[in-house]
Point group: C2
DNA sequence: CCTACCGATCGGTAGG
DNA sequence: CCTACCGATCGGTAGG
Protein backbone atom coordinates (compact mmCIF):
# COMPACT_ATOMS: atom_id res chain seq x y z
CA UNK A 1 0.00 0.00 0.00
CA UNK A 2 1.42 3.37 -1.04
CA UNK A 3 0.60 6.23 1.28
CA UNK A 4 -1.00 9.40 -0.02
CA UNK A 5 1.65 11.68 -1.47
CA UNK A 6 2.27 15.40 -1.09
CA UNK A 7 0.72 17.80 -3.56
CA UNK A 8 4.07 18.24 -5.31
CA UNK A 9 4.52 14.51 -5.67
CA UNK A 10 0.98 14.16 -6.95
CA UNK A 11 1.70 16.81 -9.56
CA UNK A 12 4.78 14.97 -10.71
CA UNK A 13 2.82 11.75 -10.99
CA UNK A 14 0.23 13.54 -13.03
CA UNK A 15 2.91 14.86 -15.35
CA UNK A 16 4.33 11.36 -15.78
CA UNK A 17 0.89 10.06 -16.73
CA UNK A 18 0.27 12.86 -19.21
CA UNK A 19 3.70 12.51 -20.79
CA UNK A 20 3.27 8.80 -21.27
CA UNK A 21 -0.24 9.39 -22.62
CA UNK A 22 1.06 11.79 -25.25
CA UNK A 23 3.62 9.24 -26.39
CA UNK A 24 1.09 6.42 -26.56
CA UNK A 25 -1.51 8.57 -28.31
CA UNK A 26 1.06 9.68 -30.85
CA UNK A 27 1.37 6.05 -31.94
CA UNK A 28 -2.03 4.51 -31.20
CA UNK A 29 -4.26 7.57 -31.18
CA UNK A 30 -6.11 9.10 -28.27
CA UNK A 31 -8.68 6.30 -28.58
CA UNK A 32 -5.85 3.80 -28.32
CA UNK A 33 -5.05 5.02 -24.83
CA UNK A 34 -6.21 2.63 -22.11
CA UNK A 35 -5.98 2.93 -18.37
CA UNK A 36 -4.67 -0.60 -18.11
CA UNK A 37 -1.77 0.01 -20.45
CA UNK A 38 -0.86 3.28 -18.77
CA UNK A 39 -0.99 1.61 -15.38
CA UNK A 40 1.29 -1.16 -16.61
CA UNK A 41 3.79 1.21 -18.23
CA UNK A 42 3.94 3.44 -15.16
CA UNK A 43 3.78 0.59 -12.64
CA UNK A 44 0.73 1.90 -10.87
CA UNK A 45 -2.85 0.76 -10.48
CA UNK A 46 -5.58 1.72 -12.93
CA UNK A 47 -7.43 3.52 -10.16
CA UNK A 48 -4.28 5.45 -9.35
CA UNK A 49 -4.05 6.65 -12.94
CA UNK A 50 -7.72 7.48 -13.24
CA UNK A 51 -7.83 9.34 -9.94
CA UNK A 52 -5.85 12.22 -11.40
CA UNK A 53 -8.41 12.84 -14.12
CA UNK A 54 -11.73 11.34 -13.14
CA UNK A 55 -12.58 10.00 -16.57
CA UNK A 56 -10.70 8.69 -19.54
CA UNK A 57 -12.01 11.57 -21.63
CA UNK A 58 -10.47 14.09 -19.23
CA UNK A 59 -7.18 12.23 -19.56
CA UNK A 60 -7.40 12.42 -23.35
CA UNK A 61 -8.07 16.15 -23.14
CA UNK A 62 -5.10 16.55 -20.79
CA UNK A 63 -2.89 14.77 -23.33
CA UNK A 64 -4.09 17.13 -26.03
CA UNK A 65 -3.36 20.13 -23.80
CA UNK A 66 0.15 18.87 -23.13
CA UNK A 67 0.75 18.31 -26.84
CA UNK A 68 -0.32 21.90 -27.42
CA UNK A 69 2.18 23.11 -24.84
CA UNK A 70 5.01 21.17 -26.50
CA UNK A 71 4.04 22.41 -29.92
CA UNK A 72 3.80 26.02 -28.75
CA UNK A 73 7.18 25.79 -27.06
CA UNK A 74 8.94 24.32 -30.09
CA UNK A 75 7.21 26.08 -32.97
CA UNK A 76 5.65 29.31 -31.87
CA UNK A 77 7.58 30.73 -28.92
CA UNK A 78 11.03 30.78 -30.59
CA UNK A 79 9.57 33.09 -33.25
CA UNK A 80 7.25 35.14 -31.06
CA UNK A 81 9.56 38.16 -30.81
CA UNK A 82 10.23 38.46 -34.53
CA UNK A 83 8.45 41.18 -36.51
CA UNK A 84 4.94 40.22 -37.56
CA UNK A 85 4.50 39.27 -41.20
CA UNK A 86 6.70 37.32 -43.57
CA UNK A 87 9.75 37.16 -41.29
CA UNK A 88 7.91 35.60 -38.40
CA UNK A 89 5.83 33.43 -40.69
CA UNK A 90 8.88 31.91 -42.32
CA UNK A 91 10.51 31.30 -38.93
CA UNK A 92 7.38 29.57 -37.65
CA UNK A 93 7.16 27.39 -40.75
CA UNK A 94 10.81 26.43 -40.48
CA UNK A 95 10.38 25.49 -36.82
CA UNK A 96 7.37 23.54 -37.92
CA UNK A 97 9.43 21.43 -40.27
CA UNK A 98 12.13 20.96 -37.64
CA UNK A 99 9.48 19.95 -35.15
CA UNK A 100 8.16 17.18 -37.41
CA UNK A 101 11.69 16.03 -38.08
CA UNK A 102 12.94 15.99 -34.52
CA UNK A 103 10.15 15.92 -31.94
CA UNK A 104 10.09 12.14 -31.91
CA UNK A 105 10.91 11.89 -28.22
CA UNK A 106 7.63 13.44 -27.19
CA UNK A 107 5.79 12.15 -30.27
CA UNK A 108 7.24 8.80 -31.35
CA UNK A 109 4.29 8.28 -33.71
CA UNK A 110 4.32 11.77 -35.20
CA UNK A 111 2.45 14.96 -34.56
CA UNK A 112 -0.40 14.29 -32.14
CA UNK A 113 -2.51 17.07 -33.62
CA UNK A 114 -2.43 15.48 -37.04
CA UNK A 115 -3.26 12.08 -35.62
CA UNK A 116 -6.05 13.48 -33.46
CA UNK A 117 -7.38 15.64 -36.26
CA UNK A 118 -7.95 12.62 -38.48
CA UNK A 119 -9.08 10.46 -35.57
CA UNK A 120 -11.84 12.83 -34.48
CA UNK A 121 -12.71 14.68 -37.67
CA UNK A 122 -15.91 12.68 -38.15
CA UNK A 123 -16.79 11.99 -34.51
CA UNK A 124 -18.86 14.22 -32.30
CA UNK A 125 -18.03 15.16 -28.74
CA UNK A 126 -15.64 17.15 -26.58
CA UNK A 127 -12.54 15.69 -28.21
CA UNK A 128 -13.71 16.57 -31.69
CA UNK A 129 -14.47 20.08 -30.49
CA UNK A 130 -11.09 20.47 -28.80
CA UNK A 131 -9.16 19.21 -31.82
CA UNK A 132 -11.10 21.45 -34.15
CA UNK A 133 -10.59 24.47 -31.94
CA UNK A 134 -6.83 23.88 -31.73
CA UNK A 135 -6.46 23.43 -35.49
CA UNK A 136 -8.54 26.54 -36.06
CA UNK A 137 -6.42 28.54 -33.65
CA UNK A 138 -3.31 27.44 -35.46
CA UNK A 139 -4.70 28.36 -38.87
CA UNK A 140 -5.66 31.77 -37.52
CA UNK A 141 -2.12 32.39 -36.33
CA UNK A 142 -0.78 31.61 -39.79
CA UNK A 143 -3.47 33.70 -41.42
CA UNK A 144 -2.70 36.73 -39.27
CA UNK A 145 0.95 36.82 -40.31
CA UNK A 146 0.02 36.11 -43.92
CA UNK A 147 -2.34 39.07 -43.94
CA UNK A 148 0.25 41.29 -42.31
CA UNK A 149 2.82 40.20 -44.88
CA UNK A 150 0.50 41.23 -47.71
CA UNK A 151 -0.30 44.55 -46.03
CA UNK A 152 3.39 45.25 -45.55
CA UNK A 153 4.09 44.46 -49.19
CA UNK A 154 6.23 41.45 -48.30
CA UNK A 155 3.99 39.23 -50.41
CA UNK A 156 2.40 40.22 -53.74
CA UNK A 157 -0.68 42.41 -53.34
CA UNK A 158 -2.87 39.89 -55.15
CA UNK A 159 -1.99 37.11 -52.67
CA UNK A 160 -5.01 35.35 -51.17
CA UNK A 161 -4.00 34.68 -47.54
CA UNK A 162 -6.60 31.94 -47.09
CA UNK A 163 -5.42 30.16 -50.22
CA UNK A 164 -1.82 30.31 -49.08
CA UNK A 165 -2.78 29.14 -45.59
CA UNK A 166 -4.58 26.17 -47.12
CA UNK A 167 -1.49 25.24 -49.10
CA UNK A 168 0.81 25.60 -46.10
CA UNK A 169 -1.33 23.26 -44.04
CA UNK A 170 -1.31 20.72 -46.88
CA UNK A 171 2.45 20.89 -46.98
CA UNK A 172 2.59 20.14 -43.30
CA UNK A 173 0.25 17.16 -43.53
CA UNK A 174 2.18 15.76 -46.49
CA UNK A 175 5.44 16.11 -44.62
CA UNK A 176 4.01 14.28 -41.62
CA UNK A 177 2.91 11.41 -43.86
CA UNK A 178 6.24 11.20 -45.67
CA UNK A 179 8.12 11.06 -42.40
CA UNK A 180 5.81 8.75 -40.49
CA UNK A 181 4.56 6.31 -43.12
CA UNK A 182 7.62 6.21 -45.37
CA UNK A 183 10.45 7.34 -43.13
CA UNK A 184 11.51 9.57 -46.02
CA UNK A 185 14.58 11.50 -44.93
CA UNK A 186 14.37 13.78 -47.98
CA UNK A 187 10.85 14.94 -47.18
CA UNK A 188 11.93 17.81 -44.93
CA UNK A 189 14.11 19.20 -47.71
CA UNK A 190 11.14 18.99 -50.09
CA UNK A 191 8.93 20.81 -47.61
CA UNK A 192 11.54 23.56 -47.25
CA UNK A 193 11.81 23.87 -51.00
CA UNK A 194 8.05 24.20 -51.30
CA UNK A 195 8.11 26.81 -48.51
CA UNK A 196 10.68 28.84 -50.43
CA UNK A 197 8.31 28.90 -53.36
CA UNK A 198 5.17 29.71 -51.34
CA UNK A 199 6.84 32.30 -49.11
CA UNK A 200 9.63 33.86 -51.20
CA UNK A 201 12.14 35.82 -49.09
CA UNK A 202 11.37 39.50 -49.38
CA UNK B 1 -31.87 -20.58 -36.61
CA UNK B 2 -30.94 -19.48 -40.14
CA UNK B 3 -30.11 -22.30 -42.54
CA UNK B 4 -26.89 -22.28 -44.48
CA UNK B 5 -27.24 -20.09 -47.54
CA UNK B 6 -26.19 -20.62 -51.13
CA UNK B 7 -22.79 -19.45 -52.28
CA UNK B 8 -24.34 -16.45 -54.02
CA UNK B 9 -26.21 -15.43 -50.88
CA UNK B 10 -23.07 -15.89 -48.83
CA UNK B 11 -21.21 -13.61 -51.21
CA UNK B 12 -23.87 -10.95 -50.91
CA UNK B 13 -23.71 -11.16 -47.13
CA UNK B 14 -19.96 -10.77 -47.29
CA UNK B 15 -20.36 -7.68 -49.45
CA UNK B 16 -22.81 -6.20 -46.98
CA UNK B 17 -20.35 -6.76 -44.16
CA UNK B 18 -17.47 -5.22 -46.09
CA UNK B 19 -19.53 -2.21 -47.19
CA UNK B 20 -20.65 -1.51 -43.66
CA UNK B 21 -17.08 -2.00 -42.44
CA UNK B 22 -15.79 0.60 -44.89
CA UNK B 23 -18.38 3.12 -43.69
CA UNK B 24 -17.63 2.48 -40.01
CA UNK B 25 -13.86 2.57 -40.55
CA UNK B 26 -14.18 5.84 -42.44
CA UNK B 27 -15.55 7.40 -39.26
CA UNK B 28 -13.98 5.41 -36.43
CA UNK B 29 -10.89 3.99 -38.09
CA UNK B 30 -10.11 0.38 -38.90
CA UNK B 31 -9.28 -0.14 -35.23
CA UNK B 32 -12.69 1.24 -34.34
CA UNK B 33 -14.35 -1.64 -36.14
CA UNK B 34 -15.79 -4.23 -33.77
CA UNK B 35 -17.53 -7.49 -34.54
CA UNK B 36 -20.27 -6.67 -32.05
CA UNK B 37 -21.13 -3.39 -33.66
CA UNK B 38 -21.13 -4.87 -37.16
CA UNK B 39 -23.34 -7.72 -35.98
CA UNK B 40 -25.77 -5.23 -34.46
CA UNK B 41 -25.87 -2.98 -37.52
CA UNK B 42 -26.40 -5.92 -39.89
CA UNK B 43 -28.70 -7.84 -37.55
CA UNK B 44 -26.59 -10.94 -37.49
CA UNK B 45 -24.53 -12.75 -34.87
CA UNK B 46 -20.88 -11.94 -34.22
CA UNK B 47 -19.94 -15.47 -35.23
CA UNK B 48 -21.84 -15.02 -38.49
CA UNK B 49 -19.83 -11.91 -39.26
CA UNK B 50 -16.51 -13.39 -38.29
CA UNK B 51 -17.11 -16.60 -40.23
CA UNK B 52 -16.64 -14.79 -43.53
CA UNK B 53 -13.16 -13.63 -42.62
CA UNK B 54 -11.75 -15.80 -39.87
CA UNK B 55 -10.12 -12.98 -37.94
CA UNK B 56 -10.79 -9.33 -37.35
CA UNK B 57 -7.53 -8.45 -39.08
CA UNK B 58 -8.68 -10.22 -42.25
CA UNK B 59 -11.89 -8.18 -42.10
CA UNK B 60 -9.89 -4.98 -41.75
CA UNK B 61 -7.79 -5.94 -44.76
CA UNK B 62 -10.96 -6.73 -46.73
CA UNK B 63 -12.32 -3.26 -45.90
CA UNK B 64 -9.07 -1.72 -47.15
CA UNK B 65 -9.30 -3.75 -50.36
CA UNK B 66 -12.87 -2.60 -50.95
CA UNK B 67 -11.89 1.03 -50.34
CA UNK B 68 -9.17 0.59 -52.95
CA UNK B 69 -11.72 -0.72 -55.44
CA UNK B 70 -14.01 2.29 -54.85
CA UNK B 71 -11.14 4.70 -55.15
CA UNK B 72 -9.86 3.09 -58.34
CA UNK B 73 -13.32 3.15 -59.87
CA UNK B 74 -13.95 6.81 -59.06
CA UNK B 75 -10.52 8.35 -59.52
CA UNK B 76 -8.36 6.25 -61.77
CA UNK B 77 -10.54 4.33 -64.23
CA UNK B 78 -12.40 7.35 -65.67
CA UNK B 79 -9.01 8.74 -66.76
CA UNK B 80 -7.33 5.50 -67.73
CA UNK B 81 -7.83 5.91 -71.49
CA UNK B 82 -6.51 9.46 -71.66
CA UNK B 83 -3.02 10.05 -73.04
CA UNK B 84 -0.28 9.54 -70.48
CA UNK B 85 1.30 12.68 -69.08
CA UNK B 86 -0.18 16.02 -68.11
CA UNK B 87 -3.63 15.41 -69.60
CA UNK B 88 -4.25 12.22 -67.67
CA UNK B 89 -2.61 13.58 -64.57
CA UNK B 90 -4.88 16.59 -64.46
CA UNK B 91 -7.94 14.42 -65.02
CA UNK B 92 -6.93 12.10 -62.20
CA UNK B 93 -6.32 15.03 -59.86
CA UNK B 94 -9.68 16.55 -60.71
CA UNK B 95 -11.43 13.23 -60.06
CA UNK B 96 -9.52 13.11 -56.84
CA UNK B 97 -10.97 16.41 -55.68
CA UNK B 98 -14.46 15.35 -56.79
CA UNK B 99 -14.02 12.09 -54.91
CA UNK B 100 -13.22 13.85 -51.65
CA UNK B 101 -16.15 16.18 -52.17
CA UNK B 102 -18.75 13.60 -53.07
CA UNK B 103 -17.83 10.07 -52.01
CA UNK B 104 -19.48 10.51 -48.64
CA UNK B 105 -21.91 7.67 -49.17
CA UNK B 106 -19.20 5.08 -49.14
CA UNK B 107 -16.95 7.12 -46.85
CA UNK B 108 -19.07 9.16 -44.44
CA UNK B 109 -15.98 9.99 -42.40
CA UNK B 110 -13.75 10.87 -45.32
CA UNK B 111 -11.16 9.03 -47.35
CA UNK B 112 -10.39 5.72 -45.70
CA UNK B 113 -6.83 5.70 -47.03
CA UNK B 114 -6.05 8.96 -45.32
CA UNK B 115 -7.60 7.78 -42.09
CA UNK B 116 -5.83 4.42 -42.27
CA UNK B 117 -2.55 6.01 -43.27
CA UNK B 118 -2.46 8.11 -40.11
CA UNK B 119 -3.89 5.31 -37.98
CA UNK B 120 -1.20 2.80 -38.93
CA UNK B 121 1.75 4.98 -39.82
CA UNK B 122 3.51 4.23 -36.55
CA UNK B 123 2.22 0.70 -35.92
CA UNK B 124 3.80 -2.48 -37.18
CA UNK B 125 1.95 -5.38 -38.74
CA UNK B 126 0.03 -6.46 -41.83
CA UNK B 127 -2.27 -3.42 -41.79
CA UNK B 128 0.63 -1.00 -41.66
CA UNK B 129 2.24 -2.86 -44.54
CA UNK B 130 -0.95 -2.87 -46.61
CA UNK B 131 -1.60 0.85 -46.06
CA UNK B 132 1.96 1.72 -46.91
CA UNK B 133 1.93 -0.40 -50.04
CA UNK B 134 -1.32 1.20 -51.26
CA UNK B 135 -0.09 4.74 -50.65
CA UNK B 136 3.17 3.91 -52.37
CA UNK B 137 1.36 2.48 -55.38
CA UNK B 138 -0.71 5.63 -55.65
CA UNK B 139 2.34 7.88 -55.45
CA UNK B 140 4.01 5.80 -58.15
CA UNK B 141 1.02 6.27 -60.45
CA UNK B 142 1.24 10.03 -60.01
CA UNK B 143 4.98 9.98 -60.46
CA UNK B 144 4.78 8.04 -63.72
CA UNK B 145 2.50 10.61 -65.36
CA UNK B 146 4.54 13.46 -63.93
CA UNK B 147 7.70 12.03 -65.44
CA UNK B 148 5.97 11.47 -68.77
CA UNK B 149 4.69 15.05 -68.72
CA UNK B 150 8.22 16.36 -68.27
CA UNK B 151 9.57 14.08 -71.01
CA UNK B 152 6.86 15.23 -73.39
CA UNK B 153 7.63 18.86 -72.63
CA UNK B 154 4.21 19.44 -71.03
CA UNK B 155 5.89 20.58 -67.84
CA UNK B 156 9.09 22.67 -67.63
CA UNK B 157 12.24 20.63 -68.19
CA UNK B 158 13.62 21.57 -64.78
CA UNK B 159 10.56 20.14 -63.00
CA UNK B 160 11.37 17.68 -60.20
CA UNK B 161 8.63 15.03 -60.45
CA UNK B 162 9.17 13.81 -56.90
CA UNK B 163 8.90 17.34 -55.55
CA UNK B 164 5.69 17.93 -57.44
CA UNK B 165 4.28 14.58 -56.34
CA UNK B 166 5.04 15.50 -52.72
CA UNK B 167 3.16 18.76 -53.12
CA UNK B 168 0.18 17.12 -54.80
CA UNK B 169 -0.18 14.63 -51.96
CA UNK B 170 -0.04 17.46 -49.43
CA UNK B 171 -2.79 19.24 -51.29
CA UNK B 172 -4.92 16.16 -51.07
CA UNK B 173 -4.38 15.68 -47.36
CA UNK B 174 -5.12 19.34 -46.69
CA UNK B 175 -8.33 19.12 -48.69
CA UNK B 176 -9.43 16.07 -46.73
CA UNK B 177 -8.83 17.92 -43.46
CA UNK B 178 -10.66 21.04 -44.61
CA UNK B 179 -13.68 19.03 -45.69
CA UNK B 180 -13.82 16.60 -42.79
CA UNK B 181 -12.75 18.67 -39.80
CA UNK B 182 -14.11 22.04 -40.88
CA UNK B 183 -16.80 21.19 -43.42
CA UNK B 184 -15.28 23.93 -45.55
CA UNK B 185 -17.25 24.13 -48.79
CA UNK B 186 -14.67 26.43 -50.37
CA UNK B 187 -11.81 23.98 -49.88
CA UNK B 188 -12.38 22.12 -53.14
CA UNK B 189 -12.14 25.37 -55.08
CA UNK B 190 -8.89 26.15 -53.28
CA UNK B 191 -7.51 22.73 -54.13
CA UNK B 192 -8.42 23.23 -57.79
CA UNK B 193 -6.77 26.62 -57.79
CA UNK B 194 -3.60 25.15 -56.35
CA UNK B 195 -3.75 22.39 -58.96
CA UNK B 196 -3.92 24.99 -61.71
CA UNK B 197 -0.73 26.47 -60.39
CA UNK B 198 1.11 23.19 -59.88
CA UNK B 199 -0.02 21.62 -63.16
CA UNK B 200 -0.49 24.51 -65.60
CA UNK B 201 -2.52 23.52 -68.69
CA UNK B 202 -0.12 22.96 -71.60
C1' DC C 1 -25.36 -18.44 -40.07
C1' DC C 2 -26.93 -19.64 -35.23
C1' DT C 3 -26.51 -20.29 -29.80
C1' DA C 4 -23.65 -20.61 -26.13
C1' DC C 5 -19.74 -20.01 -24.36
C1' DC C 6 -14.36 -18.69 -23.21
C1' DG C 7 -10.63 -15.67 -20.99
C1' DA C 8 -9.08 -11.00 -21.34
C1' DT C 9 -9.71 -6.35 -21.01
C1' DC C 10 -12.42 -2.21 -20.97
C1' DG C 11 -13.81 2.24 -18.03
C1' DG C 12 -15.18 3.08 -13.70
C1' DT C 13 -16.56 2.65 -8.39
C1' DA C 14 -16.24 1.65 -3.30
C1' DG C 15 -13.69 2.01 0.44
C1' DG C 16 -9.56 2.67 2.77
C1' DC D 1 -2.39 5.70 -4.53
C1' DC D 2 -3.94 0.88 -3.26
C1' DT D 3 -7.03 -3.63 -3.45
C1' DA D 4 -11.04 -5.55 -4.84
C1' DC D 5 -14.61 -5.33 -7.28
C1' DC D 6 -18.62 -4.20 -11.09
C1' DG D 7 -21.14 -4.88 -15.69
C1' DA D 8 -20.09 -4.44 -20.49
C1' DT D 9 -17.65 -5.62 -24.35
C1' DC D 10 -13.71 -7.40 -26.79
C1' DG D 11 -12.00 -11.22 -30.39
C1' DG D 12 -12.54 -15.77 -30.93
C1' DT D 13 -14.10 -21.01 -30.51
C1' DA D 14 -17.13 -25.25 -30.26
C1' DG D 15 -20.61 -27.44 -32.12
C1' DG D 16 -24.60 -27.71 -34.83
Amino acid sequence: MSPRKSAAEARRTRERIVGRSVAIASVDGLEGLTLGRLAGDLEMSKAGVLGHFGTKEALQLAALTEATAIYTRLVWEPAADLPAGLVRLRAVCEHWVDYLETARDAFPGGCLFTTASVEFDAKRGPLHDAVRRLQLRWRRVLLADLTTAVTKGELPADTDPEQLCFELVGLYLGLNQSIQLFGDARAAARARRALDRLLPPA
